[in-house]
Subunit: 317 residues, 2 copies
Amino acid sequence: MENTESVAKTHDTAASLIVVGSIALDTVSTPSASDRIGLGGSATYFSAAASLLCRPQIIAVLGEDFDRSQLNFLEERGVDLSSVTTKPGKTFHWQGSYGEDLGEATTLCTDLNVFADFEPSLNASQQDCDFLFLGNIIPQLQLEVVEQSRAKFAVADTMNLWINTKREDLLRVLGRIQMLVLNEAEAQLLSGEKGILAAARKIQSLGPGTVIIKRGAFGAFMLHEDELFSCPAYPTPNIVDPTGCGDTFAGGVLGTLARHGKVCGDTLREGIVVGTALASFTIEGYSLDGLKRADIHGLRQRYATLEQMTRFRALDM
Amino acid sequence: MENTESVAKTHDTAASLIVVGSIALDTVSTPSASDRIGLGGSATYFSAAASLLCRPQIIAVLGEDFDRSQLNFLEERGVDLSSVTTKPGKTFHWQGSYGEDLGEATTLCTDLNVFADFEPSLNASQQDCDFLFLGNIIPQLQLEVVEQSRAKFAVADTMNLWINTKREDLLRVLGRIQMLVLNEAEAQLLSGEKGILAAARKIQSLGPGTVIIKRGAFGAFMLHEDELFSCPAYPTPNIVDPTGCGDTFAGGVLGTLARHGKVCGDTLREGIVVGTALASFTIEGYSLDGLKRADIHGLRQRYATLEQMTRFRALDM
């Protein structure tokens, strides 16, 4: 990881990025479609997004029922799948449902299956990766991974279930990572604070110097050291299925950081806007359908739209 | 109203701005205080905010119970009160209550009193004012005022009550104004659209070329012709009472437009950021207490914070 901005501009020179998370089969219901079955999982969305920016590597486990050809598109995008193993049993399965507002999903069913015994072991090169993303998995497992790692910048996601039931383990994770990414309701639950700035500051005091709070249709908010940043959501009129938007967003952020090989206010801001633009592709389709349509050209266009939407001149008085 | 940006930089050369709205006595309950009685009203907050930017004039009516010395601070700030009349009866009174989240108020009581028979009549100079703001009053009254006016840029606020009960009158108002300012739930109710962009476009199709949607803690969104703008809320940690924030915001927007004497994407954006900064003073105190503490220096500081919070560099790929 270099300390200048001029490095790591192509995929081959980007810093290394590993995601430990799920590759899943999802069953999703929205107001316009019931029980759609498709590819899902935090590592899937994350790496598909990050692959536009660097060459991410996935550490995950599949069941014997999983048709690996479903991951061909990731391989074509340069994602390293060499540490995606197959074990006897069924693949992780999540079932969720969205209400009329297509806001937060209600989880109807979580079958951990082969994920229940998942014990990721990092090899020497993986231990030395530059950037590490711990998808939303049980905090004990996040802790085992981060303790094996010498990553220069480790990032975790989490959820209300772990905040409520595994708080002590989660607090240990927070003491070991540099950045936490979570949604606003989770930030309020974890911190006990209602205001977004107070919540972010409280979480910062628990460990991570950088806190990114996802606000759905209201965009994203970052506290990095003493620096604040706010980015609106991309105003897509075509909202189909929000599943995977958070992981897509995180993949855009971490992919940008790995691409530049540098963590600072500027690269984090760029990453948040990239993540926002990429998440807007994910929401436009079921499963990975929307995100698969995202390319560098589309990313550049949506990034430029977000620039136009947020710029204003200096106060003229 | 000039068509260049270099005019109207001082209060004396600003374009003329009239607000027609209420001066009220409010009774407000928040989680930390019950039944606090204080000065309120849309015209009061609006003009106090705009007075930092131009010399607004109020058209309003008071009851005999109103102690006019409560308005001295407005006169000291250069607000023209010559068309604030006193009539037999009681002053307009609003009673509202906020829940734990200090979000939308629940209206407990609205006593129109002297406001019930308010029939504002604009004199020749008022008819020719450059900018006109119609505070949140019954649409029939907004229509009577706008029909007397030859304002170059007329703006209205509204609320769910009128959208539900006076839709036809409100639609007539929309056909006569250049800009509508309303909150997100009201925009959804008026348009029948859930997405903010779809809602704004639908409202635009009803008349006003510019639509500003207030999102509370999530900031503000503008559609101006084909141009989008999004501004986050100012992250004040000190939230006391949101009453008047919407009118303060509108006063900042219209005051900025009047100061520049020009309506375009740039002045609207500047106005929205000014309005956002000023509303953050209002929320920090009861009644006008917070806004009274706002001066040019404080406005500049908070504007600069909002610049810092939103800037990001061009995509480097």
